[in-house]
């Protein structure tokens, strides 16, 4: 169950997402999804993490014009937005169960798709998961824990996080390189 203060926070962000959608401010939508990362890192709540993924995916879907030419796109997009609007309503009524059911409904939208739109949307969602996972790892949660929270493999996370600046953070340097080399040399002498 999501706590009241978190519900307020999620509601606030979802409303901002709908507002940004009307203004076609897709970058803002992406940034809004990042606001969930702090919460996700601490609470590791499946629903909160799902919302971060749903919003980030939305921003990625809207960036690409070619998806919009697919025949089922309009119906899919409309249903996607409907689930978000219903999440807002559920949160306004403080109806935790209805909120959770809408997250499930959003997840099931993929199952109704077929062909290239299905594989493209699946890809968008998976990339969104990896992106969020990488952010959570940056916040200090281990790779194994993060992969589990997001339901992705360590292979996917290692590949993605290696391209980010995680290794360059000064606080991550915990031993002089020469000392670690010395240790490695001792192991293999």
């Amino acid at each position: 169950m999501i706590k009241i203060e978190e519900q307020k926070h999620i509601l606030d962000i979802l409303k901002k997402v709908m507002d940004a959608l009307q203004k076609k401010d897709y970058i803002k939508i992406k940034n809004l999804s990042n606001q969930f990362v702090h919460h996700s890192s601490v609470h590791q709540d499946a629903d909160v993490i799902s919302i971060a993924v749903i919003i980030y995916s939305l921003s990625k879907m809207l960036e690409r014009e070619d998806y919009k030419k697919e025949k089922d796109w309009k119906a899919f997009y409309s249903s996607y937005l409907t689930t978000i609007k219903r999440m807002i309503k559920a949160l306004e009524k403080k109806d935790d169960k209805a909120f959770h059911l809408e997250i499930e409904a959003n997840r099931r939208l993929l199952e109704k798709l077929s062909g290239s739109l299905k594989s493209n949307m699946k890809d968008v969602l998976n990339r969104a998961k990896i992106n969020k996972a990488s952010r959570i790892y940056e916040h200090g949660i281990s790779m194994g824990k993060t992969a589990k929270i997001l339901g992705i493999t360590l292979w996917e996370l290692a590949e993605y996080s290696g391209r980010t600046g995680v290794g360059n953070v000064n606080l991550g340097v915990t031993m002089e390189l020469k000392d670690r080399i010395k240790l490695a040399e001792e192991i293999f002498k």
Binding site: V42, S142, L154, N168, G172, V173, R180, L183, A184, E185
Partner: protein, 225 residues
Amino acid sequence: MKYLIFDAGPLINFSMNGLLDSLERLKENFKGEFLITKEVKEEIIDHPKTVKRFQLGAIRLEQLFNKGVFKLADLNTEEVDELKRLRDTYMQQANSMFKTKKKPVHLLDKGECAVLALSTIMKRKCKEDVPIVIDERTTRIIIENPQNLKKLMEKKLHAKINAKTETYDLFKGFKIIRSTELAYIIHKKDLFKIKHPKAFEAIVYGLKFKGTSISEKEVQALSKM
């Protein structure tokens, strides 16, 4: 007999970079065993074998496992039970080490904690430190400088973190190297097949880009060693 324990990350990293043959040659040079836990085997072979994108990498690792290049530790029933108990203790302690105003932050998972537990048991059995190869940042910082992790989390979360500092000692003393230091040894022993003046630097970058937590400054320094 000497032992070196591998977390999942370094083996995945060597596989993704096409460097497993060099690991095999390094094992031939090592007067001991490369060990993994059941949890690591699941993460590097059993599960990815069912994911098309990572199937090839997992099969390559399985071949090395079948050849005995790395193996599951030979533990009796009591030691297996002890490993599970220790794993759960490490997990419980790590996951209550830091608290925000609201709740404790769960930092480590079973896989990482099982590696620590195995190192503890093997150290007792062979009466010397049993080092671990680990690429991911969090476990390494908890072991070597947990205060840095606290600072990092406070910076990232924009929140005060309360640390249960008495748990720090539980994680002290593990010896950690990363894939990049392993690559350094392979390079110095001339066990990489690829011969090119820039090859070692390229390998270190390859490892960094597939998950080794190493800074740019360290990469530069290592490449010149």
